[in-house]
């Protein structure tokens, strides 16, 4: 795919100064590409500055001029056209083509998009073999509470009750093709913080099963097979074909989409449905600011492939009259230390003593990962540090979390981080406080109190489980900044319980569906790590069900 062929990326990367009005001052999206190619983001073209002054409408409220019929060089007709070859799009394509439907998948990049490793499902054959039984109703209740009930409960239930059968289908297919499937123990289990063993990993013999797999994109293993199965079932995947605009007929039905290919445009007509599966918008600053502004507090974002999470499908859907769900939307922000601080400070990711800039403890640290960031954002300067002493490795060896133990680096690695200026070290608490730049007396008192509560076996201040409290008394002492990393956004479009997009009057738009991270009404305002892998788990389960249903309809 060329950059010239992808106006949306160009346009969105320039949003900061364009204020969403790129197309207002120029002659539509096609010619906007020419303009977009002119200047680097820091030096907007005069035309663009003028355009910004004309309109401050966000991109999704600013439809481009329709692509003229004269520029369409060919037409392709299928039962279903799926936009986006991520996990949701390819699963929907697979399920539909298993039923004999003619499916075309459009993807702007040269290959499918994939990242991550966890895939949530309930009571699969792998879970049963590992001795895990999940009570779906308990999990559903927790998920609904976690999302403040800002969801379609029927979609959450559909995932909880049908993920087992959908995953079993894929587990069989994977195992027949030499790919293993493992289930991980739950994250962060304790009386006060629920956790369910929902995360399935696709594993190959070798490194993937070791702890180092944290950084291996194990999802790639699954996607490589999935792409093959999709093609074997007769579906076509058109890569380097960025979708541009949906096609709507006079009755209001979405009948297809126009995609840009080398040398022009192709019209893809869908007799049954167009399914949007272009993922989230976490790389699109204008959208992030509008729908999940705390995502901007994250020190860094990690997303691969870059440019894959620009909200292309959201723009297209809104231009065609689809409505957004009620903001704010959930994003995945993990308390993972990130560039420029490196990916090795996992100790800050655990439920150790957290202190703020005043040297004060402020929470029961035993919270699911994303919410640890949220509390840190509410602290002065949005800063916080995890404090440990020199026996943290031994202390935490008794802790049972995912991957067979807590994900913490050995002390030698922590020392290396200190040398690189990523973490702080002091022979005394006062010396440590001086290094961090927080009040020594307050930190001494906080640490003394925390150790006292740990010895007492009762957290009278914040109610943390006693088995998660360790004294902090053996120097040298370490402070590790708690950083947040923005991964993806996990919801946007207003869909009904059939995953069909709704218009502004909440009427279903015939022929238009949204799946995967484009689908709204599944998460509240945060991503629930109590059921790790739920973004992928929802994508696989619900996209499979939708693909199958639409094919049979």
């Amino acid at each position: 795919m060329s950059q010239k062929n992808d106006e949306t990326i160009q346009a969105n990367s320039r949003r900061d100064f364009l204020k969403g009005s790129l197309v207002a001052g120029v002659a539509g999206v096609a010619s906007a590409a020419g303009v977009a190619g002119v200047a680097a983001a820091a030096t907007p073209a005069p035309d663009a500055q003028k355009a910004a002054a004309v309109s401050a409408k966000p991109s999704w409220e600013n439809p481009p001029e329709p692509i003229p019929e004269s520029q369409i060089k060919s037409t392709v007709t299928a039962d279903m056209v799926i936009i986006g070859a991520g996990i949701a799009g390819l699963v929907a394509a697979h399920a539909a083509s298993e039923q004999g439907a003619k499916v075309v998948v459009l993807e702007k990049f040269r290959t499918f998009s994939v990242r991550g490793k966890d895939n949530a499902a309930v009571n699969t054959k792998v879970q049963k073999a590992a001795g895990y039984t999940i009570d779906p109703e308990m999990l559903i209740a927790d998920l609904i509470a976690y999302s403040q009930n800002r969801v379609h409960q029927s979609l959450v239930r559909m995932w909880a009750y049908r993920s087992g059968e959908v995953f079993d289908h894929y587990i069989d297919l994977c195992e027949a093709n030499g790919l293993g499937v493992k289930v991980l123990p739950p994250y962060n289990v304790s009386r006060t913080s629920p956790g369910y063993p929902t995360a399935h990993n696709w594993v190959k013999k070798g490194g993937a099963e070791s702890m180092g797999s944290e950084y291996i994109l194990t999802e790639v293993f699954f996607m490589e097979l999935l792409e093959r199965w999709v093609k074997e079932k007769g579906a076509e995947i058109h890569y380097s074909a960025p979708a541009q605009q949906l096609i709507k007929d006079k009755s209001g039905r979405i009948t297809g989409v126009i995609a840009k290919v080398k040398g022009g445009y192709v019209k893809y007509l869908a007799t049954k449905a167009v399914i949007l599966a272009t993922g989230g918008y976490s790389e699109n600053k204008e959208m992030l600011r509008a729908w999940a502004p705390w995502g901007e507090y994250a020190e860094s974002q990690v997303y691969t492939p870059p440019g894959g999470n620009m909200g292309d499908g959201i723009n297209m859907a809104c231009w065609a009259g689809a409505a957004l769900a009620n903001a704010p939307f959930a994003i995945m922000t993990h308390t993972i230390p990130a560039p420029p601080f490196g990916n090795d400070l996992m100790v800050a990711n655990q439920n150790l003593l957290h202190v703020n800039r005043l040297g004060l403890r402020y929470e029961n640290e035993n919270q699911p990962d994303p919410t640890q960031c949220c509390s840190r954002f509410a602290q002065p300067g949005r800063k916080a540090w995890a404090i440990v002493d020199s026996k943290y490795e031994k202390d935490m060896s008794s802790l049972q979390t995912s991957m067979g133990g807590p994900v913490v680096e050995p002390i030698a690695m922590l020392e290396e981080s200190v040398e690189k200026g990523r973490a702080f070290k002091g022979d005394s608490i006062a010396a440590l406080a001086a290094k961090v730049g927080i009040p020594a007396k307050a930190l001494e008192e906080t640490v003394a109190r925390y150790s006292e509560l740990a010895r007492k076996g009762k957290d009278e201040d914040f109610g943390k489980e006693p088995n998660l409290m360790y004294t902090i008394e053996q120097g040298p002492f370490y402070a590790i900044p708690i950083h947040a990393q923005l991964l993806v956004s996990v919801g946007s479009m207003n869909v009904d319980p059939n995953m069909q997009c709704l218009d502004k009057d909440d009427n279903p738009i015939p022929g238009l569906y949204a799946i995967g991270n484009m689908m709204g009404n599944f998460f509240g305002s945060d991503y629930p790590l109590i059921a790790p892998g739920l973004s992928h788990g929802r994508a696989i389960t619900l996209s499979y069900i939708l693909g199958q249903q639409l094919a049979k309809a």
Binding site: Q3, N5, P306, G342
Partner: protein
């Protein structure tokens, strides 16, 4: 490919191969900074319009690069002696655009460090 393009590409290939400094790029640049991509092309006899076209100031997209350089796989072979190979990874297989790293009239930029903060691209000795 026209005969002219063929000659230009061959010349360019020779220049690139001769430019050991080119492959020594990392996120930090010092006095031994490699020549800019545009200068390398110019010294290989590639003219402005060969890449930029005849119109008003235009960026060079990946398709244009691949007119001569053919494919990422082919480019990856030329940098096979680097660790890691900057042209053989999950980005060059999916979304990478040449000008994300090679901005023509500016120094090359290693975008890997956006996520892999300590990744330095080195030529094997």
């Amino acid at each position: 490919m026209s005969l002219r393009s063929f000659i230009l590409c061959t010349l360019l290939g020779l220049v690139l191969a001769a430019s050991a400094a080119f492959a020594g790029q990392s996120k930090s640049f010092t006095s031994d900074q490699p020549p800019f991509t545009a200068d390398l092309h110019k010294s290989a006899g590639v003219s402005c319009v060969d890449c930029h076209g005849e119109g008003k100031k235009q960026s060079v997209d990946t398709d244009q690069c691949l007119e001569c350089h053919k494919s990422f796989e082919k480019i990856a072979k030329k940098t096979a002696d680097m660790t890691p190979n900057p042209h053989d990874n999950h980005l060059t297989k999916s979304s990478a655009e040449c000008n994300q790293c090679h901005q023509g009239h500016k120094a090359n930029e290693n975008i890997c460090v956006k996520c892999h903060s300590e990744m330095v691209l080195k030529r094997n000795k």
